[in-house]
Symmetry: C2
Subunit: 202 residues, 2 copies
DNA sequence: GAATAACGTTGACTAAAGTCAAGAAATTAA
DNA sequence: TTAATTTCTTGACTTTAGTCAACGTTATTC
């Protein structure tokens, strides 16, 4: 039991660190804040949240890697986000408005997550002003990077985007299947295979 | 003088409406809030903010239409956002961190704007909690739509994306040049011309 | 550890979109 | 109103990426 507690301490330190990157937390408030979150484990390939449902929680990843993707009418998947350790992920719009989400969230590896319900999420805003601030900053950063990503997709070839992603998130390539990378980049698996062949034979 | 004041009243009502869509404003606070904003006019094609500079303000559009775009090393433009009436626009990341922006903001038509400085922006968060809330909600919505846009760009052809945009923002097509639409959609002007030919000849 | 499934590669072909160049049409400015 | 400029269109060609099918290679799973 004491051992388990020790592990949890280590884990949540990661969470604390990540928030402190964005904002200063008043002494003692983090512990209270943590009680709003729940620890969950998921197995490889297990679904965490499914499209067509109102999402039950939002997520911070302590360990593992998961993907957010959408499936169109033809059954084709399109990955919009990978969340590795230290990343927040979820469909906040749907959670807060209690509307159906169009996204699936699936564990790519065995995952350890901290999750927070819609109610506790709203509670966190009321109780902790620093959380609101951190959240705002996070969103600003994220929206800016999404916009940047759009530009890249408009102006660069698949090959260049592949190289950029490889440079930006090298570890990702060692933990997710290649066709997931292709889906995220918005190209077919075959095209990615050919891009790699071209790059690594020259 | 009294006539001018009347005009301003009408204009800011638009601003009030737009915020009230997101959040309820306590009696009397809007007037105080308004003092943090400045009214500005820009001529057609005039630059409002330039890349390579720290942006001096963030924007709400009362009248007219402007574009946010990036220019790459080759001198090619890529439009990331159109702001028509009732829209917020700016590079908040750069404003708040006082870093150089990569985006240009240019008036497409004669524009009437409300602008807010970095200092007043931070002040608004401190003074008006409803503004923080409205802002958070706005960002959530925007980020979600950017993600959705990424998916569309990954999975749909230029033709379908053109039709979707036409459906979503029909008025935009009557006020901005066609090659701006092409740039925003991430296709060449020639391709857009051909898409239109194909659509309207069948 | 054999069977099964998932993943990655390759070839041949097709489709979508970009590029370059020329010229028509429309808009703006003098 | 005319001249200048910008915008749009079209043709010919190239590049990039998608599709379908086959097959080899890894991983899983029982």
């Amino acid at each position: 039991m004491s051992e388990k507690k020790e592990v949890r301490k280590y884990d949540t330190a990661l969470f604390l660190e990540e928030i402190q990157k964005r904002v200063a937390i008043p002494e003692g408030e983090f512990e209270k804040f943590l009680t709003l979150w729940e620890f969950r484990k998921f197995n490889r390939n297990e679904f965490i949240l499914q499209s067509g449902e109102v999402p039950k929680f939002s997520i911070f990843v302590l360990k593992g890697c998961l993907r957010q993707y959408i499936m169109n009418e033809k059954g084709e998947e399109s990955i919009v986000y990978f969340a590795e350790e230290r990343h927040f992920i979820g469909d906040l719009q749907s959670i807060r408005n209690k509307t159906i989400s169009i996204y699936n969230f699936q564990a790519i590896e065995e995952c350890e997550l901290l999750t927070i319900s819609a109610e506790n999420w709203e509670q966190a805003f009321i109780e902790f002003s620093w959380w609101t601030k951190a959240h705002l900053t996070g969103y600003q950063k994220w929206a800016a990077s999404l916009q940047q990503q759009m530009v890249e997709h408009h102006t660069l070839t698949g090959e260049v985007r592949y190289l950029n992603l490889l440079k930006a998130k090298p570890k990702l390539f060692q933990r997710v299947p290649q066709h997931y990378i292709a889906s995220y980049l918005g190209i077919s698996p075959e095209t990615l295979s050919r891009i790699r062949k071209k790059i690594f034979n020259s």
